[in-house]
Amino acid sequence: MTQTRIPVQFILNGKKTAVDILPEQSALQVIRDELGMKGTKEGCGIGECGACTIEVNGQAVNACLMFGVQLDGCRVMTVEGLAEDGRLHPVQEKFLAGHAVQCGFCTPGLLMSTHALLGENPEPDDHQIVQAISGNICRCTGYQQIFSSVRAACGQSDQGSVRENQDSKEERC
């Protein structure tokens, strides 16, 4: 069967990108399968784990829930766009230093949620941090190291508890 592809153009990690996609493809499929950028992960595929988090026009979104066509004309950033000239982004540095990475599957999504948060609000309080990262699930770390690394990336001292984070895991029906 012939499939009608449609042209989509956007700025990906600072570079103009043009790709012909199928209308039903998700932004995640476009990024991973069409563009071959495998940094963004697929966990649940239905908006619940945050492994696929990317930034679109400065806002964190789940690439698995987004249609590829919705990327057209947008400024898109994936985890590959964080490091510059071989130097890690400060948020990545803090995750490394704070042992926020074990298997690493959740890490790209968490880095992007943190990066988007800092873009919107350079000095978030603990509650705002929790709100920003509670759409990201980690099966390994128990969140404490992640939470303190995000706090460190936000220029806060290494204190604070993750309990609020666990308590406020977002609900859905």
Partner: protein, 289 residues
């Protein structure tokens, strides 16, 4: 998934015109957060995808000059509902519901129009819209018509919208109430049967008696409900623990009247009362201030 064709209209007229010709064959796309999940689960696949995200007129939020009517475009995201002062001031329970709505990532995409049009009993924006006596302004080739929120759903996941209809905006009776709240009980990834939500707004007179109250129950009934009996019970009275307990009992009774005595009622009955008490209890202090 078989393949589809994507249409990206630049304005409302183009979208309405397309729906006039291809409505039953079209998925309207707003944020995509429900549609993508539905399509992935293999539900009702249609040949056209109508992306409404370029239509700027669907994204406006306005208040009338006399501050009596708040208009919220169907394409307004939950993040904007969370951050716009106009909504925080004139529809505070709607603002409140945006804090516990899904995750940050989803709020950045999900729209109020998609939430209502999906006709899920557990749409979080619905009880807040109901207490503001909201109407959806719906466009099709024959012109615009207004549908009261309470008539938007014919049953769980059964919208009153026709395939040719596009929700343009919601018109709310704006109010800056002295007391307002939204509460929900949810379980991550759980089903609607274990979920409930409610919204309230109220004002009091100089004696501390309730002079105005609107209350709506969502999620645990197939369609959203405005609970007139609960409102009447509180009107003209100063809330006390006794009155709140009475209200909670009445609410549970009304809920059972609607849903019948299903097995889940053993959970729902105490849960609805507990959530109601938690939400209304602060009124006791507020009315005595």
């Amino acid at each position: 998934m078989t393949t589809m064709t994507c249409i990206r209209p630049e304005n409302l007229d183009e979208a309405v015109d397309f729906l006039h010709h291809h409505g039953p064959d079209t998925h309207i796309l707003a944020g995509g957060t429900d549609l993508m999940v539905d399509l992935r689960s293999g539900k009702h696949h249609r040949p056209y995808l109508l992306d409404t995200s370029r239509i700027d007129s669907l994204k406006t939020v306005q208040i009338s000059d006399d501050l009596s009517r708040l208009s919220i475009g169907s394409g307004v995201t939950l993040t904007r509902i969370n951050t716009l002062p106009l909504i925080k001031d004139h529809a505070p329970a709607l603002h409140k519901c945006s804090f516990t709505f899904a995750s940050r990532q989803i709020r950045n995409m999900a729209t109020i129009g998609g939430n209502v049009a999906h006709a899920s009993p557990c749409g979080d924006t619905i009880p807040p819209l109901v207490i503001h006596e909201a109407e959806a302004v719906v466009a099709n080739k024959d012109g615009n018509r207004n549908i009261p929120l309470l008539e938007m759903n014919k049953g769980a996941y059964q919208s009153a919208l026709h395939p040719e209809d596009l929700v343009v905006k919601f018109i709310l009776q704006a109010r800056q109430p002295g007391f307002s709240d939204f509460q929900k009980i949810g379980r991550r990834k759980a089903l609607a049967t274990s979920r409930m939500s409610m919204a309230v707004m109220a004002d009091k007179d100089s004696q501390g008696c309730i002079s105005f109250i609107r209350f709506s129950l969502g999620a645990c009934t197939p369609t959203p409900q405005r609970m007139h009996d609960v409102e009447s019970l509180f009107t003209g009275k100063i809330p006390s623990v006794k009155l709140i307990n009475q209200g909670a009992g009445l609410l549970a009774e009304k809920m059972v009247e609607i849903t019948g005595r299903r097995p889940s009622i053993t959970y729902k009955e105490p849960a609805v009362q507990g959530l109601f008490k938690r939400m209304i209890y602060p009124m006791v202090t507020w009315c005595r201030q």
